[in-house]
Each structure stands twice: as structure tokens, then as C-alpha cells.
Amino acid sequence: MLKIEGLRASIEDKEILRGVDLEIPAGAVHGIMGPNGSGKSTLVKVLAGDPAYTVTEGSVSYKGMDLLEMEPDERARSGVFLAFQYPMEIPGVSIANFLRAAVNSIRGPENELPTFQFYALLQDKLRELQLDEFWGNRYVNEGFSGGEKKRNEILQMLLLEPGLCLLDETDSGLDVDALKIVSDGVNRMRSPERSMLIVTHYMRLLDYIAPDRCHIMLDGRIVQSGDIELARRIDSEGYEFIRTGVAETNV
């Protein structure tokens, strides 16, 4: 489904990704942890096509397509979705208008949803995330709390039904109840055709979602992979043993 090989990327001449290798099969949910500044967010942003980063080396193939050759909107239309760590505020654009434009862009001009059907779908998803029915009248993320912004990201994911979900610290800023709602949403999205990559600092989210595999990122590379037990060990011991391990390997 997703295959990343030797991916290097930099921002303003500072190299952040220094050769990332990662493969996620269809239907798999992978978690990715790592200390601040290790490149986790950069990785998902580069996958989504953030123009702030320059890819200098490596390849990314998604469903056989060369993702790096595609514009951000083309990637999205082929199924890539990034739930932002810091979603943008877009004053003056209502959530409903924005989502309708997004849903119809993804579906394509031949398959646009009639307005009535779109609103019915939106109401379904709002209920699922326990958001009120007038949510769509608000301007995109304007004046939202951190938790509201994250829920709004998940709302978009539920509506767009992407093939590859990239979640960038979606759990930060959520209280326990919201975390439960969001994780339930994510779990319902799991399917044999859909892959997910979940960036997080915390065990809580991984406990709810139970990823198939966990990766540890350090200094722009994935340095260790394992099952959820690896994440548990990080959660209790921190990253020190990984650093030591990497240092020893490098000796």
C-alpha cells in the first residue's frame, strides 16, 4: 500500500528526514513515536505534500503511484489524508461549504453528492463524533479550542473516507472523553483496504487503537520497529534505551 524508501527531506536547508524506510500494508495501522524534533510530523507532512519541505532523496509509492510527483490535492484525491497537528483557521469559510467542496473534489465532477445528500451525510458524521448539528455553520477552526480542532480533523476524515490516514498527534489537546470519541471514530474506519499511520507521544491513544506495529523515530530515521510492547516500554522508560541502542549499533 505505502512504501517509503530512503526518504530525505529538508526545510530551509536544514535536513530533517535522513533516510526514512517504512512500509505499511493495506489494512494495517502503524504507530510512530519519537522525541520532539525527531521528524515524525515532517514525515507525514512530506507525505501529504507540504510545499514548505524539499524532498532531496528517496521514493514514496502509494498504491503503485509515485506520490512525490503529485500535487497535494492530487494526493488527497488518490486517498491520502493528513489530520493536522495544528489545523489552519480559515475565517469566513464555513465548515459545511469547505466540506462540501472537499467531498465533491474527492468524488470528482461525475459523482458529486447532491446538496441534500451531503447534508444528511454530514449530520450522520456529526452525531458519530457527538458534535452539534450547527457545527457546519461555524467558520473552519476559527476560535476553536485545541480539542475542537482535532475533532474537526476527524470529522473530515470520516467524510472523505481516505485510503491512507496520517494522524499527526491527533490525541494532543484532547481530554479523556474526546480521546475516546476520536479513537472510536478511528477504529470504525479500520478496514482491510485502509492503512493508517498514527503519530503520537502517548500510550493512551495507542491503547485505544491497538496498532499492528509501532516504529520509533530518532534524528530523522526509523531506528526501531516492533509491536505495541515497544511503545509500552517507551512509555515507561523513555527514549534513552533506544538512543543507547542506536549509539551501540553505530559503534
Binding site: 490535492d73 488527497a76 472537499a102
Partner: protein
Amino acid sequence: MEAGVLAAEPGVRAAELSVLETKLRDWAPDPELPDWFNASRRLAIEAYFALELPQRSNESWHYGDARRFHAGSLDIASASPGFSGAEYERICKLSREYGRVTCLSMVGDRVEELSQSPALSELGGFVLPLRKALAQHGELLRPYWQQGLLPAGRDKLTAQHYALLDGGFCVYLPKGAELKDDIHLILETGEGGSVVSPHILLIAEARSSARVFIHNLGHPEQERNLQTSAIQSFVGAGAQLMLTKLQNLGPKTDALMIEYARLQRDSRYDTISINLGGSNVRTEVETHLAEPGADARLSGLSIARGRQRYDFHTFQNHMAPHTSSNLLFKSALLGRARASYQGLIDVHPSAQSTDAYQSNRSLVLSPDARSDSSPQLEIEANDVRCTHGSTTSNVSRDEMFYLQTRGIKPELARKLLVQGFLTEVADRIPLQPLRDYVESFILERMA
């Protein structure tokens, strides 16, 4: 500066008078109109001949060319090109949806009433073509007419407007008249190569209230065309007047639009200037908060493309204590369009506890478009709250990226962001059908 269009230079000698100027020189008083009005017309004509066109060195004309608004070689409009079926239908539909008092001012004195409101006459008020109002209610209108805009002390172009003044409307609301119906006035331009000068007098006596919509509509004429229009608003004690002006003139029409408002105690004046059409358009909005408790909101929304030039001038004149004003002008610029903004907040020494705000924001969407802004404060009182600012930017790359990650193509993403940018002002338009009308134009312009 573009040459070739404007023949008449300032200070022409009698022998070089244009057709229009010959008509002005030969002007004779109109026996059906009050003497005082005829006298003021004569003064305006004299001022027109005596005054020079403002030069670039004049700060107010730094960004615009006064010759663009000089009638010069144009003739006074005599015929209306008429609206195309679709446009006329669009207006009538809008009128049915939101206006119950609807008047269409054809060129000159000719007026078509599309609908009437029994409510207004029951309240003792009226909407009349200006000429009729002057003929029937001359003494009532006189004290208002003579305040504010009269040419003495202003410039040649204001004098030109009063000298050429041909048509327009007068709205009168007596004390306590709260009009529930909306008043919709439509001004039309003349044939190619002509000038029209409509004038609108809005009088809201104490504790009255009304909403007025003014549509400046044009035609896709082939020749240059000029409209100079003026609005005089008087808002009595405790009265509320809400004015929405939509300028969608033809692509070869230059327009000078002057607005003057005087607010009395505890009154509220809400004025929205929407600019979509025209070629060179200068908009002047001045509000005089003359008595305590007066509150004015000034809004501007424009989208310009091609070689359109919009020049905005605003004046928030705080003459009395406890007055407030809030100004927000937003422009989106495409192609080679240019917008300039010059705004002044003046707080008189006695105007303590003034609360004034002024903000001008431009979205410059093309490398060849340009925006200039100079907000100014002149504060002579010490206990006031005044803030002002201006910003110029393109759509943000981060916002574009965010929309694109949702599958939205860059062209549509940009449209959404421009629409969003203008929404803050569009939301102030009091009626949904008109908001829809404006939003559909925004999208059309972006195409």
C-alpha cells in the same frame, strides 16, 4: 496616466467650451423647482467654471487622476441603453425578494416604479424622484440640501456633480416612522460617451428607521461613460439608517461616488460600499458624528480585476463626546487591478470618550495587482480609544495547503479563501438574497 480620452484641460477659455460646457453656460432656471434650488444650481455652475481640477500634488488625489472624473468632452446622457432581458429580470427578482419600495431611475428624470409600499405613505413618509420631491416639498428639503456637500470649499468635481445633477431620489421618513419594508433604488448609466449625475437625499427624522439599498448598474457599452453620484444622509436623534450600495457599472464607466452623512444624538448609521464593476471608481464616504451617542459603521467590499482602479476615501469625524465609529474596508485584487485607501479619523477636542476603529485589508492575488493604504488619525481629545491598521497580503500558503490536502484544486481553494476573506464584510449585508447576489459575483469575478 493615459492620454487620448480626455480632451478638455483645466481652465478652458470660453471659445473652447465643450458641448456639455456650452449647455451649462446656457443653463436657465427650472420654473418648476424652488428658487433656492435654482440659485444653488447657478452657484454650482459658476464654481465649476471657476475651479481648477485637483492635481496629483493634492494629497487626496495622490493615487487617482481627477481628469478621469471630469465630464469634459462627454455629453449629458439622453438615452438609456436599456437593460438586457436577463439583467433586468435579475434586478426585478431581487426586488421581489427584498424590496417592497422599488424605483428604477432611468437616465435623467425618467423613473420607473417597480413596486410601492403602502406602509411608507401610511407613516407619512415618501420615496420620490428627486425632481418631484424638490418641486413638491421644497421647503422641507431646503435645510438638508444646504448642508454638507455644497461645492463652495470643495472641488471642481463636486461642483460638476451639482451643476450636472439630473435625477436621483429623495427618501423622507418623518419622526418615529419605523419602515419595515426595504427601499430599493436603482441607478442606471446613460449611452456610451455620456455622463449621468444622480443625487440621493436620505432624511431619517428622529427615532425613525429604514433600510435602503442602492444599486448602481451599468451596461457593457463600448465607449467611455461617466457617473458622478452623491448621497446625502441625515440621521436624526435616535434614528437608524442602514444603507447598502452596490456598484456594478459597465467596464468602461468611470464613477465618482460621494457620500456624506450627518448623525445626531444616539443615532446609528450603517453604510456598506460594495464595488464590483466600473473602470476608475472613486468612493468617498464621510460620516460626521455631530452629537453624543452617535454611532457609525462603515464597510467596504470590493473585488477588482483587469485594469480596474478603485480609490477609497473615508472620513470618520468625531465632533461630540461618546461617539463611536467602526470602519472595515476589504478589497481583493486580481490581474492588474489597483486599489488605494486613504482614511482619516478626526477626534475633536470636545469629543471625549470617542471609540473609533479603522481597518483596511487587501488581498493581492496577482503579481501585477497593487494596493496602497494610508490610514490616518488626528486626535485632539485625551480620553479616547482609537485603533487603526492596514494589511496587504496574498492568500496564505499554509491555508492553500490545508485546503489542497482535502482534495480541493488550487483554483477552487483560492476562490474559497477569497470568498472567506470577503465574508467578514459580506456578512454585514442585511439580506440573504443580496448576499447571494454579491457572492455569486465574487465567484464570477474569480473565474
